[in-house]
Subunit: 309 residues, 3 copies
């Protein structure tokens, strides 16, 4: 039987099928308890430290809510400017200090590889809440959880990922989780922002069915799920090129009318202009439910790594 007790959650790509299944089923169980209004006490007497060396209110509040909903408590460093690292302290020293306070640590840090370094420094479980261009495993997990919940099962689904697939940390990891669950993948992105060839080759080696290119409307006609990512203005040297390209990746009600009936629309948020506000009322608009799913998924992770599931 799979267990995650005492383990760190640093990468989504190293989770075994059994571990992935354990996380999703535990999240589902916690979600049912929340819906039923049960008061959980799994983490009673435990302290979570959320260390955000790079601000991210959304992710931090989601983790903190997860801990509180399990009956635990939270200490938080939300602003790196007030931290000892501003005085020149190493990440290892910061972690070894906080290890003296907390039973489990969630860390977000702008440097790739920092989560692994942080986890190696301490004996308590560490959960990576994003390490720069590295990983953000809890986002990938809540994305998978959301697709499963919206669609019943992953196997056999067709999922379009649209937008900036070159720089999207989350998307790079999500596709592996989807590919191994038997999802057909369509990649739609502006020229220059395609999914890295190495990842596509990798996925094909794993037996995944992948299509690339084409326009968004065509992809939506074939897809059960559309996963939209932000196209960041700062990636373009030419503002006009940004305006032209980003405009053709805006999802509105008209596009949904032409899409496969019942298509689910997902987005990791925050969105800026990629999905128009009128889409919010569409029943397949899943992005706010997706954000809310972060709570039971993170509850599952906190409880599993501390052996309190």
């Amino acid at each position: 039987m799979s267990t995650l007790c005492g383990k760190d959650i640093l990468r989504s790509d190293l989770l075994s099928d059994g571990e992935l299944e354990l996380i999703l089923s535990t999240a589902s169980r916690f979600e049912r308890a929340l819906t039923a209004g049960d008061r959980l006490t799994n983490m009673q007497g435990q302290v979570l430290a959320t260390l955000f060396f790079e601000p991210s209110t959304r992710t931090r509040l989601s983790f903190e809510t997860a801990m509180l909903r399990l009956g635990g408590q939270v200490i938080t460093m939300a602003d790196p400017k007030t931290s000892s690292s501003a005085k020149g302290e190493s990440l290892v020293d910061s972690m070894r200090t906080v290890e003296g306070y907390a039973d489990v640590i969630v860390i977000r840090h702008p440097r790739k590889g920092s989560a692994q370094e942080a986890a190696d420094a301490v004996a308590v479980p560490v959960i990576n809440a994003g390490d720069g261009t590295g990983q953000h495993p809890t986002q990938a997990l809540l994305d998978v959880y959301t697709m499963q919940k919206e669609k019943g099962a992953l196997e056999g689904l067709t999922v379009t990922l649209a937008g900036d697939l070159k720089n999207g940390r989350t998307v790079h990891l999500l596709v592996y989780l989807l590919a191994r669950s038997g999802v057909r993948l369509l990649f739609v992105s502006p020229p220059g922002l395609e999914m890295p060839a190495a990842i596509t080759a990798d996925l094909k080696k794993l037996g995944a069915e992948i299509s690339e290119g084409g326009d968004l409307a065509a992809a939506m006609r074939r897809s059960d799920v559309l996963y939209v990512t932000r196209i960041q203005r700062e990636r373009f040297e030419d503002p006009a090129a940004y305006e032209r390209l980003s405009g053709s990746y805006v999802v509105d009600r008209a596009m949904i009318q032409q899409a496969k009936p019942g298509i689910s629309i997902m987005h990791p948020l925050p969105r800026v202009d990629e999905i128009t506000a009128e889409v919010d009322d569409y029943e397949g608009a899943a992005y706010f439910r997706q954000a809310a799913n972060g709570v039971p998924v993170r509850m599952a992770l906190l409880a599993l790594v501390t052996g309190r599931n």
Copy 2:
């Protein structure tokens, strides 16, 4: 019977007499429980999100204390610089995300009307902790609660409001609550900072007894309560004019000696120079008690809107 269950608290002027009475009596009950050292569990298992898009430590800590004293838990965004709105996210999207975490949301935002917009976006109750030049209903409510507690009853009291009555958001709303409770109002302010004529006209239409002008000492001789507000230096183009005017609105012990015996001195705080420190020892100096009253009043609101009173 009045109930506030499931309602938002966005404005103080739309509360019915029954709702106002319910809030004040619930606050009074909670205050007695706190004084008795009872441990309350009304909000056990519930999470409050305090979203401060504009910092206000005093108001935030008061709400958080209220939630904790009721046995609930808190997640907080104290600094707008770390929020997703800094990445261009709309207020509506921020609210719909946090709705996935919290059972009740307190919001402070620099833009007038933002609290209404925030409340419209979500199904959970929203409490306005100040929306720019808009409203700050919990301040008005704790002011009324304080006067009632200090004086026994509002009806028949004479209350002087002194200072900048033109720009004082709280004062503009407080006067309506007082007028409809049968309080006689005296307005004393420097030239150019008078109570807006529209409000005075409005109050008179409601049957309120109002006097304007005159000096502060004269008003204090007739008043049961003096409510002092800050005169902000930045409202004056000429610094000398500020110095001259603000000086005549400083309350000291000598002025209290000439005032109606037992006069209560109130101030929404923070004060700068409007009341001298020597006044603090006067038994009618109510401003710190007034600040403390924010806790039971906010406890009442949190419990009432979630149906846990």
Copy 3:
């Protein structure tokens, strides 16, 4: 019998022997409970306010953990830029406001004497978490607690204090606590950063055995404990002088091999270059245990001043 109920903890030098003993024994009892996994409820229903007018994440998180481990709750002002003092409010007014929210207050403030001023303003117990060049009593107490725990007893120990002894607030107070416990003291510091003569004279008057000067290696050969402090670059006008001097105060494994066997290495953290990372694996490297000891020591103080030990 000593009691600290209702008292403020502002200075370490005014604690009686009985009070010191009470703090250390209470900390020890709480540490055993934590190790045994007991869930403590001493502070249930109580609220701690941590007011940091100067950021210090390490100290703040340590106090907050202490409160949470005792079953209490926390409200926090971590960033002075968001406080009312930024609007010109006096420290006294801020304290009298927060007194309306919290049962005990921890304050850190950049101005010497501010903790006393803060404590004088309110009826609830106040704990000084550092007042500029003034005191930082909980650091001195956790240092003493650590030495006692690492070495069994203080009496008869030889302790070297190395580094900048001129500007080290904590060290100035720690030495009094050590001297009166029968510890022999060696002071080793770069020219110009010696322990102030007034303190040395004072300690000798108290009967303490003190040596000064000499090199670090020689001191380490005679010492049971080495307490290292940071030499701050900004104390030197000439960068080359800093490099030359600080280099001779770096503790590495080679130096430990030449030291008295079993020597304990302490440091208040954060460290920058004073102790090399290779020392961390040395079993006498006590600095991270020292940081962790802050939790039971602060638990003891919180429980004692509120009469909930």
